[in-house]
Amino acid sequence: MRRVVITGMGVVSASGRNQGEFWRQLSSGISAIDTISSVDPWQLRFKNAAEVRGYDPESEFPAKDLMFLDRFAQFALISANEAVSQAGVEWRQEVRERGAVVTGSCLGGRGAEEAGYWELFHHNRTRVHPLTIPLSMSNAGASHISMRYGIQGPVYTVSTACSSSAHAIGQAFWMVRAGIAPLAIAGGSEAPIFLGGLKAWEAMRVISKDTCRPFSADRSGLILGEGGAMLVLELLDDAIARGAQPLAEIVGFGMSSDADHITQPSSDGAARAMRNAIEDSGMAVEQFGYINAHGTGTLANDRTETAGIRAVFGSHADKLAVSSTKSMHGHALGAAGALEAVASVLSLRHGILPPTANYTTPDPECDLDVLPNEAKKAEVEACLSNSFAFGGLNAVLAFKAWR
């Protein structure tokens, strides 16, 4: 079987706007969760989110480009640029003609859509901005990356709520492994901090009024985040041939559907996705030393995820380190899987496992080694990155250290 490696990664997040800063914050256990600044929080029953701070779109893009880019598409392009630059991609004709871009986004450019409808509903306008559709379509990020680099092969967007970008990376991995695309840029981006979206999440009653405390007995819900992350995937042989440095190997992808409830998670569905990813990797459960958990900080997720991990790993579950970096970069919905894939690869690469921040109290129903508040030095051979979505759609990625 052909082997696929990651040769470049890019990140925009509340925990830093590039890979280096992202890793510095995650490995130091610094949580970027803070009072919401881009929407007036008096309108909301919760006050905190993980927003990308100090970001100035005008300094990243020429004004004429910015006109066509909603915030989520900006995040997609910025993170793709960093990933392509680190990978040092050689734009051979085959790479341009058959290369792939697969992105994930839950909401796409719904912020741009809201701005347009706001004018209709509140200001008695009779028209909306003519770019509302191209700004808000969920594939805008993928299309802009494709146009920027002239990538003409399979380019598309997956929308599976909180699993979107994990599904996207998994699909891209399989396409490269199968020889359908010689190279892929895969990941996701999300910009969910706008009034209508925040009110919809408020009504779901799953947002914490406190902070995100995954696996802690006093956890009270998730904290929304925003950002984007992209990975460059290519065949190991190609990477070696052109002298590129593999950052890690992507070895497995597993999917499943709970086929049960539209919002309540199931430990069976989670377990099947983890098993499928491990089986796809051809590795034994004992070779895995770390799981970057879905770990949203809701009562239901963390309990069912723990049960799922125990069902898959048996007695090895007590030797695993499990952490949720959502405690630091927030839950970036469709971008979450990609941010956490980057965190997973960096964990393997640096031999440091990032902690679960904001942890205070053990919960007997979440009785795993969740790395409370402090990173751990450990050179693990392989890790999983879990993503479980509303709608019961699960996607799990498996990565192996490159040494």
Binding site: R45, A203, M204, R205, K209, S220, G221, H261, I262, T263, Q264
Partner: protein, 89 residues
């Protein structure tokens, strides 16, 4: 005769769940009535609208039967009346 708070709460729940009103008893638990987490969200949303109140997430999580729900709503309605007196100071 005007509807009591209990009658209004039961009416809202019966309507939302499409249950006959007479099948709801104060001691009925949500579980017995087949009301799951998403149904609860819908019911809380409708009760907030019916009484023009705000029901706290954490308080709502503690409620397991209709009697507790009625008591909670009565408390919030009383607090609202107290917070907005009829004569301005």
């Amino acid at each position: 005769m005007s509807e009591s708070i209990q009658e209004r709460v039961l009416r809202v729940i019966a309507t939302k769940q499409r249950l006959p009103l007479e099948s709801l008893r104060p001691e009925s638990t949500f579980e017995e009535l087949g009301i799951d987490s998403l149904d609860r969200l819908n019911i809380l949303f409708d009760l907030e609208g019916e009484f023009e109140i705000e029901i706290d997430d954490d308080e709502a999580k503690k409620v397991t039967n209709l009697q507790q729900m009625v008591a909670g709503i009565e408390h919030l309605v009383a607090a609202k009346a107290q917070a907005s007196p009829t004569v301005d100071a």
